[in-house]
């Protein structure tokens, strides 16, 4: 089934909202392939369907038509339960509004997906502390989200998205709520991820964020109007850690950790 190195693939993807004259085509006949290790930025005016596209690719929403493939497996036909399992193993989400669990500390938020995926408490804790250190928040591990700044919260959210060593990270305007300094912190982490070969799909309004990508897609009215390979920063296909080829979830961390120093 490994026709291409595409981690995420969509064919004729359609998503409509509403009925009759008020019907909106949020995503309109979109074809997409995201190869392993690519950082893809999606830009476009508000309401053009960027978030919807991300939700469809990550299995949070079901398409009205078309197909979605994740790591060679078709996911738009999966049951809710199987979709949840798929997300657990293969996908990490980062949202503009952070969406941290307010009652849990930074570390516990990061551990949560690992525990959901059935890791032992000890494994989850070790993994969380590595990742928090990685995003520069080791000293804030025991803080509740309400005691963190926006930038810190978003870095916790990134750490949480990475905890199960996902095939692909989907980020929906991850810097939309952040000031310049915090945006730069998050960008630096994305740079590192890209260098480590992590597949990334980032929806953004921010040119600085888009500039870190290998590829930029512009959307309008649910359709792709432009698809550009960005020169210079790109590293091409994933030569990093070979995620998804059987390396253990801790093994995958090796490349990631090594990058900081």
């Amino acid at each position: 089934m490994n026709v291409s190195s595409a981690v995420v693939r969509a064919r004729g993807l359609v998503r409509t909202h509403g009925r009759g004259p008020g019907r909106v085509r949020a995503v309109d006949e979109v074809d997409l392939e995201v190869p392993q290790g690519q950082t893809l930025a999606v830009m476009g005016p508000s309401g053009c369907g960027k978030s919807t596209l991300l939700h469809l690719l990550g299995g949070l929403e079901r398409p009205t038509g078309g197909e979605v493939w994740m790591d060679g497996r078709r996911i738009d036909t999966l049951s809710e339960r199987a979709l949840a399992r798929m997300r657990r193993r293969s996908v990490g989400f980062v949202f503009q509004a952070f969406h941290l669990v307010e009652e849990l500390t930074a570390a516990e938020n990061v551990e949560l997906p690992a525990l959901l995926a059935g890791r032992s408490r000890r494994q989850a804790r070790r993994r969380a502390s590595l990742l928090l250190e990685r995003v520069g928040l080791a000293d804030r591990a025991r803080h509740l989200p309400s005691r963190l700044s926006g930038g810190q919260r978003q870095r916790v959210a990134v750490a949480r998205a990475l905890v199960n060593d996902p095939l692909v990270v989907f980020a929906d305007e991850p810097t939309g709520n952040l000031d310049t300094a915090a945006t730069l912190d998050v960008l630096r982490i994305f740079e590192d991820l890209r260098a480590a070969g992590q597949t990334l799909v980032i929806v953004t309004h921010d040119e600085r964020v888009a500039a870190t990508a290998d590829r930029l897609i512009s959307m309008r009215d649910g359709m792709f109007v432009d698809d550009t390979r960005l020169a210079g920063t790109g590293t091409g296909t994933g030569t990093g850690t070979g995620t998804g080829t059987g390396t253990g979830w801790l093994g995958g961390l090796g490349g990631l950790i090594g990058l900081e120093g």
């Binding site: 990550g58 339960r81 009652e103 525990l115």
Partner: protein, 596 residues
């Protein structure tokens, strides 16, 4: 004046927006106050019915009963009639102890009183159908006839001889069915028996032909009916043993058949009121954020704290008082059926008295105030700006719980964390479950009580009316309690689901399945239900021991265990539906709504 208009307008707007919630408060208060008003009215209604029967039948002030018969007894009784306090009398007359059988071969002990064909000035039984005694025919007391299912024109066999039933009548001279005998042969204890009248000659023939036990009685009318007890004491020292039954004593005896009804209804109404408070408090807490924000808005436009409190309280008080009024009407309509399980008394049941109305209203107001006190106070205290920006409640971190829950399967983990989020609601859910189990324990215990039927030798051909009445009332109260508890459980689950929807949606993006989410929501309700159900058993047993007779039987442990398990299974089933509905909601939409 302007502020009254404002309060009314705000209250009406709020009621329109929260119809289901308003209906629930109204219903809960109605049920609780109706039950309480019923329980408190029983005594008054029983007294009133006795009073009306006494007036309609020229009821005696004192009945003198001797355990024997013969010239000496007759003379002793007759001498009582000459006492200066006495203004009229009836008798002495014979009371014959026999067995009565109907054509359907229902048999019962019966006491036959020998009366004149033309009734005298005292103790004139009121014929409610047919006619008064004549030679060869018998008149049955109405409570007895109703229990037997016998009417005028039927034949009954008394001590082997067939008599036509020529009439049905009531009297205030004896206790209600089945305590008409009042004393047994020889002045000893009596069985459950019915009452029949015959002519004096027929009664004499009946007694002598079969050599049946006979006692004598005399009905007395006193100058001062209130002095019936004084008369009793003054004439006790006779050499022949005579039992005096004052009319007040007979009136109190009428309550014996309702002896358990009153605690069932009154304690039941406490429990119903308690469930109403827990349910409404959960709803009010669920709306606390919205209310706090509204209070902030009102403050921002210059409303005084008093006005804010007035709006919040007025709504709940108005609903509670409406429920109170409705409950009192329901109590008024149902009390005749409940206060008189036998047909031995006549008359109309009066409405609930002033004290009953006041107590029921206090209960209704207590439900309204207790369930809204916290949100009201919080809304008044919170500073305007904080209130305007009020979001979810301030999260609290419970590290030990998080540590513990990490060891558990995902649904339990989610459930435990949800429970920890709202400890107050967990307590309410536990209390609600405990109340259900208390009611079930009471129901099982009442059903486990040994009893004798009213038929011959305790046969259930004539059922034990008191036991049946108790069981029916207990069943009704239990059904109401369970219904409120069901509503509470569904409310709790739904409120929890709505409050936790953002976190649950996040958990789903992290790979939790809808099944795990709904199992988690169910677990959040089941976890506190478990200690609630277990505690309910000792609480129920303890509560019953306050009212039960010393020799009361306990319900079998197996059935108590069954009740606990059934409650838990039912809770799990009830939480499943709202939890599933909540877990089905699309993740993406919840998250974008939360971010907005």
């Amino acid at each position: 004046m302007g502020s009254v208009v404002l309060v009314v307008r705000l209250v009406l707007a709020d009621l329109r927006r929260h119809k289901a919630q308003a209906a629930m408060l109204l219903l809960a208060v109605t049920v609780a106050t109706a039950t309480m008003a019923l329980g408190l009215s029983l005594r008054g209604v029983s007294d009133a019915l006795y009073e009306q029967t006494r007036a309609a039948t020229a009821g005696p002030d004192v009945v003198a009963l001797s355990g024997d018969t013969g010239p000496a007894v007759t003379a002793a009784l007759a001498s009582l009639a000459d006492a200066p306090e006495v203004i009229a009398h009836h008798g002495p007359y014979r009371i014959v102890y026999a067995t009565l059988s109907t054509r359907d071969s229902i048999s019962s002990p019966v006491v036959v009183q020998g009366f004149a064909e033309t009734p005298g000035a005292v103790n004139r039984p009121l014929v409610t159908s047919g006619r008064w005694v004549r030679s060869g025919g018998t008149v049955l007391e109405r409570g007895f006839a109703t229990a037997l299912g016998v009417g005028v024109g039927d034949h009954v066999t008394i001590a082997g001889r067939s008599y036509p039933v020529v009439g049905i009548a009531v009297t205030a001279a004896t206790s209600i069915y089945p305590w008409a005998a009042q004393v047994g042969p020889g002045g000893g204890p009596s069985d459950y028996s019915g009452l029949a009248w015959m002519t004096r000659a027929d009664a004499r023939t009946l007694a002598s032909s079969k050599d049946l036990p006979v006692t004598s009685a005399l009905d007395l009318k006193l100058r001062d009916p209130a002095a019936a007890d004084a008369f009793r004491h003054a004439h006790r020292a006779s050499d022949i043993r005579i039992n005096f039954h004052s009319w007040q004593f007979t009136a109190v005896q009428d309550m014996v058949i309702l002896g358990d009804s009153q605690p069932i209804l009154v304690v039941g109404s406490w429990l119903l009121g308690f469930l109403a408070i827990t349910g409404v408090a959960a709803l009010a807490a669920g709306r606390a954020v919205e209310q706090t924000r509204r209070a902030g808005l009102l403050k921002a436009v210059g409303a005084a704290p008093g006005l804010i409190a007035a709006v919040l309280l007025t709504e709940y008080l108005a609903l509670a008082l409406a429920g109170d009024a409705l409950g009192l009407v329901i109590a008024r309509l149902t009390v005749p059926a409940i206060a008189s399980p036998t047909a031995s008394r006549i008359g109309d049941a009066p409405g609930p008295g002033g004290a009953t109305v006041a107590t029921a209203t206090v209960l209704a107001v207590a439900v309204a105030v207790l369930s809204t006190l916290r949100p009201t106070l919080r809304a008044m205290r919170t500073a305007t700006v904080t209130a305007l920006s009020a979001t979810a409640h301030q999260p609290r971190h419970r590290p030990w719980l998080t540590a513990l829950s990490a060891l558990l399967p995902t649904p339990l983990l989610l459930g435990l964390r949800l429970t920890a989020r709202r400890p107050g609601r967990a307590v309410l859910q536990a209390c609600s479950t405990a109340t259900t189990v208390i009611a079930l324990v009471a129901l099982l215990t009442i059903n486990a009580q040994p009893e004798r039927g009213y038929g011959l030798d305790g046969s259930f051909a004539l059922p034990n009316l008191r036991g049946e009445h108790d069981r029916r009332l207990m069943l009704a109260v239990t059904v109401l309690l369970v219904a409120l508890a069901v509503v509470n459980t569904i409310t709790f689950t739904w409120t929890t689901a709505m409050e936790a929807r953002a976190n649950m949606a996040v958990a789903r993006t992290l790979g939790a399945t809808p099944g795990q989410i709904s199992a988690g929501l169910s677990a959040a309700q089941l976890l506190p239900s478990l200690p609630g159900a277990v505690l309910g058993v000792p609480l129920g047993v303890g509560l019953l021991s306050l009212f039960a007779a010393r020799n009361a039987a306990e319900a079998p442990s197996a059935s108590l265990l069954g009740a606990v398990l059934a409650t838990l299974v039912a809770t799990a089933a009830l939480t499943a539906l709202p939890a599933r509905l909540a877990a089905r909601r699309p993740v993406a939409r919840i998250l974008s709504a939360e971010a907005a």
